[in-house]
């Protein structure tokens, strides 16, 4: 997985699962590339962390049309776009349609998204849990994710490592992955050529998609979990890379930036369980904080 950068700083021994997921995602950010980032949350923190440590000239946009901002942190709760702090010092203020057009033109190298549910082909559900439309429960809806997942060249998905989130078939395809996984499935549905899912990052693992089958493939694991633990938290069996890389732990430097600069209110620090490394090098989970 050559796209993963070497962690900067001293290995840390205690951090939350969500913090770790952000660190891992940040190490995958490519310098000099553009990112259409889901408004708020993990994707935004990943790219902000990357700008500080791994990819100083990575540029990001959000769906309200802000291009290349230098946000004034911390952001106000729930005020994540069309607002003065997140959109501070942008290079350009456009609109939702303006940005969508730039993405349709191919200017957006990567999208970074959260997802409620994902299937082996990277299809994303954020609309419905249950049997649509009769049974179950409506969730948020795709928001801007359908455009991000359609028009960016590559999509990095951030998902919790939970069995109910990795499912053989999503309850509803809100935003497109490789659809049924057949060759040209996206193109036949009118989506731009050669686009699609790229990586899935969870607090425990990194996946890519097999080039032929488009099926999700486990390529890396966190140092504090085994492959079996990961598989146990999936409702289908992913492909396994020939060699499954062991990811570096979060570093003190990553965490310092996250906690003291990016997320001073602890929105991410406090999500998921904590992991801790004992002096003998072994890892364990603390009580669930979520």
């Amino acid at each position: 997985m050559n796209e993963m950068k070497k962690a900067v700083g001293t290995p840390a021994t205690t951090f939350s699962e969500r913090e770790y997921e952000i660190c891992v995602a940040a190490r995958m950010i490519e310098d000099g590339k553009s990112y259409w980032v889901a408004i708020g949350g993990g994707p935004l923190y990943a790219v902000l962390l990357a700008q500080r440590l791994y990819a100083p000239s990575a540029m990001y946009v959000t769906e309200d049309g802000v291009i290349g901002p230098e946000p004034l942190l911390p952001l106000d709760p729930l005020v994540i776009g069309v607002a003065s702090r997140p959109n501070y010092r942008a290079l350009m203020w456009s609109t939702m349609n303006g940005l969508t057009e730039h993405a349709q033109l191919g200017h957006m190298d990567y999208g970074i998204l959260n997802s409620l549910q994902v299937d082996p082909y990277g299809n994303i559900n954020s609309t419905w849990v249950g049997a649509y439309p009769e049974e179950g429960r409506r969730m948020n809806g795709p928001g801007g994710a359908d455009a991000i997942a359609s028009a960016c060249w590559r999509v990095l998905l951030m998902v919790d490592q939970q069995k109910r989130k990795f499912v053989p078939e999503v309850d509803f395809i809100s935003s497109p992955g490789f659809l049924d996984g057949s060759p040209g499935a996206r193109e036949k549905a009118g989506l731009p050529r050669n686009t699609g899912p790229w990586r899935v990052a969870t607090p425990w693992a990194v996946f890519d998609h097999d080039e032929d089958s488009r099926h999700l493939r486990l390529i890396a694991r966190a140092p504090f979990v085994t492959v079996d633990q990961i598989l146990a938290e999936m409702d289908f069996r992913p492909l396994l890379a020939d060699e499954i890389e062991v990811l570096e732990p979060a570093t003190e430097e990553e965490l310092l930036i996250l906690r003291s600069e990016l997320d001073v209110t602890g929105q991410n620090t406090g999500v998921g369980r904590w992991v801790a490394q004992a002096e003998d090098g072994s890892w364990s989970f603390a009580e669930d904080n979520g």
Binding site: D64, G65, P77, S84, P142, G144, D146, A147, A151, I173
Partner: protein
């Protein structure tokens, strides 16, 4: 035209020529004052059964004072465009104003929308935010539809009103979405003159598109400024007066949200909406914030107060880009 696939959603009738005739007969190209109260604007321009679009959300330059007035006047049977929203769809559904919704995004912490769907009082059709803004863009260009490169292959598409057609120039499949020309649009802006020329600073969702695409357009504005100001800097005009039907002077009209450059959001009051949603306690919320006060001014006076207001204004320290 060969339609390869099409979604199942009911959609607002596409009628560009009918829209043109409406514009000719109902909008004014003369410079006449359109300044009215929030009560009059909503009474006159929002009708039961209207397709209703509002721009932005309750946290960010949403037209909150007018949305509250729509609820206060107990408008019924609206069909809403739910793009880039948080709790407003739930609030409007809880208030009994809505019977259909084209949904891109909302924060569904509670069950009001699910319950309304189950009870058959609400129909929901599926879209993404940008699909909705592109539909509005087609409507704002006078076109019947917009080709696009997004959404194809998804269930969202399947339960939308989209079609997949073959592009007549490349022969490749292409998503086409019906234009959206709402009956009524409600947009909060930074500055407007009495004729409806309006300026929005900062980014936006689809304020220009919503204004141009809609049959009836109500602008609420932080400030009323002289037309002279527009003439001094015409490059800053976002919306031309001839698209606008009513101008409402609504300082703090985006409360509890931020109006960038003017005042910050009130996080507590936004979370109060979230709590109302999560706890299915919209009745109490509406009683306090909507029915219990007669107007925006009264709400600001009785429920917000000068001390808090001063704090919100004080926190809006970033002015760059928000002044002409």
């Amino acid at each position: 035209m060969d339609v390869l696939t099409e979604g199942t959603a009911e959609y607002l009738k596409v009628d560009p020529d009918g829209f043109r005739e409406w514009v000719r007969d109902h909008k004014s190209r003369a410079l006449v004052s359109k300044l009215v109260s929030e009560q009059e604007a909503v009474e006159r321009l929002v009708a039961d059964g209207d397709y209703f679009v509002f721009d932005c959300a309750e946290a960010m330059r949403g037209p909150m004072s007018l949305i509250r007035e729509i609820i206060r006047q107990r408008k019924k049977d609206l069909w809403i465009a739910g793009k880039f929203t948080f709790f407003i769809p739930s609030m409007l559904v809880a208030a009994g104003c809505v019977s259909k919704a084209d949904m891109g995004f909302f924060l569904g912490w509670g069950s009001v929308i699910n319950k309304a769907v189950q009870e058959g009082t609400l129909k929901v059709y599926e879209y993404g935010n940008t699909v909705m803004t592109m539909r509005l863009k087609a409507g704002a260009m006078g076109l019947p539809y917009m080709p696009m490169r997004i959404l194809g292959g998804t269930d969202t598409f399947r339960y939308s009103a989209g079609k997949i057609i073959d592009d007549p120039f490349t022969g490749e499949p292409m998503v086409a979405m019906p234009a959206l020309n709402p009956d009524v649009a409600v947009i909060h802006v930074h500055q407007a003159d009495v004729y409806g020329n309006a300026r929005v600073f900062g980014t936006g969702i689809a304020h220009v598109e919503s204004a141009l695409a809609s049959r009836k357009v109500i602008i609420s504005t932080e400030e009323i400024i002289e037309t002279e100001e527009f003439r001094r800097d015409p490059g800053r005009t976002s919306i031309p007066y001839y698209a606008v039907d009513a101008v409402v002077h609504a300082p703090f009209g985006a409360y509890p949200g931020e109006c960038a450059g003017y005042y910050a959001s009130d996080p507590g009051a936004i979370i109060e909406m979230g709590a109302a949603d999560k706890l299915d306690a919209w009745d109490a919320y509406l009683e306090k914030w909507v029915y219990g006060v007669a107007s925006q001014d009264e709400m600001m006076e009785e429920l917000v107060g000068m001390t808090k207001l001063r704090g919100l204004i004080q926190r809006a320290t970033i002015k760059e880009g928000y002044r002409a």
